[in-house]
Symmetry: C2
Subunit: 192 residues, 2 copies
Amino acid sequence: MFSQFRNRFPLTDEKWNEYIGYFNRIEVPAKTTLLEEGEVSKKLYIIEKGCIRVWFNNNGKDLTTQFFFENESVASIESFMKKLPSPTNIETIEPSVLWWIHKNDLDKILEEIKEIPELRDSLINKLFERTFDYMKYFVSFIKDSPAERYSNLIKERPQIILRVPQHYIASYLGITTVHLSRLKSKLVNKNS
Amino acid sequence: MFSQFRNRFPLTDEKWNEYIGYFNRIEVPAKTTLLEEGEVSKKLYIIEKGCIRVWFNNNGKDLTTQFFFENESVASIESFMKKLPSPTNIETIEPSVLWWIHKNDLDKILEEIKEIPELRDSLINKLFERTFDYMKYFVSFIKDSPAERYSNLIKERPQIILRVPQHYIASYLGITTVHLSRLKSKLVNKNS
DNA sequence: AAAATTTGATAACAAATGTTATTGTCTGCC
DNA sequence: GGCAGACAATAACATTTGTTATCAAATTTT
């Protein structure tokens, strides 16, 4: 699990062993709630196998805002950073194998990482990339129709289409399940 | 202009004078293009007075993605960071007084700032805050109707409503000018 | 001050999207 | 194997949103 990180980061063996000791491996079934709306997010999860969604209840409707797959890390990020109640739930979609680390331990690691110029810069770069990604999502809502957003998903995030139930995808696109179903049947007719 | 920054940052007088020397003051009329689609963004602008929008041409339609006002800094951020051609234009809305700094000079400042723990952390925090903001915009498109997004703008960014022509606001909300006009008249009737 | 341009409102009609209900398939579970 | 729940497709109808066109008011330019 950690070998891919290992190679990227110039740390001593002792450091690595210390850090790895902070992580805990768990196996959970599908539809397991990892964080509930209102709680403070204190664990960061890394996905070894499986997939996860972030969602919230909006006037009785289940709205999904993010999907995560293998090797991605998940937390309710603003809650996690600022110790605020999370507005969202975190839940597995598939049976999953996860590694979690407590915020306190991660903070220790981050404090040390920030002193190493390459790691610090790579952290800052990741933050920028994340911001760019969200900007693109945002612009896509201004620019593209639901049909175009769905086509983009197929191209850019096929894992979502293949592994996630359709009603979660619909809310992620900002449309109803009925509408998504219609879009799909139009696409099929167009391609035949 | 810079006194508000001055107080927040523990730098020597010499450093401050060096940094301030990098900035250039300009006054420009409304509808001045500061950056054109396809160019690489090399200047960061800080607004002393006036307002600015970021927009792009989407199949002949003028779509605005961001607004900026006094004391905010503006660049086509991904282009600026990575020296890529900008997908967007930057343009003044009102006659404006701006300060700009060249990317090369800003990079020099940032290199030094990153060595000072408080400044570095405040930089990282700002990056997080920016990401949170974009996440919220993104979620708002999933969660809220155009009417609700417009109401939110009135509450949270009244400057936009007061100072920006309506057709720019419409595209920012992802709707047509006709539709925005209808939403407004419904709001008026509801409140009377 | 007149002319041109920009901005905004509105109407009539078209297209997209939502709502509710029905039906069928699939999956996990006992 | 059968049952319950989750998931997806579709139809009929309602509502929202877009398109195009026209007019009026405000603003800028000459």
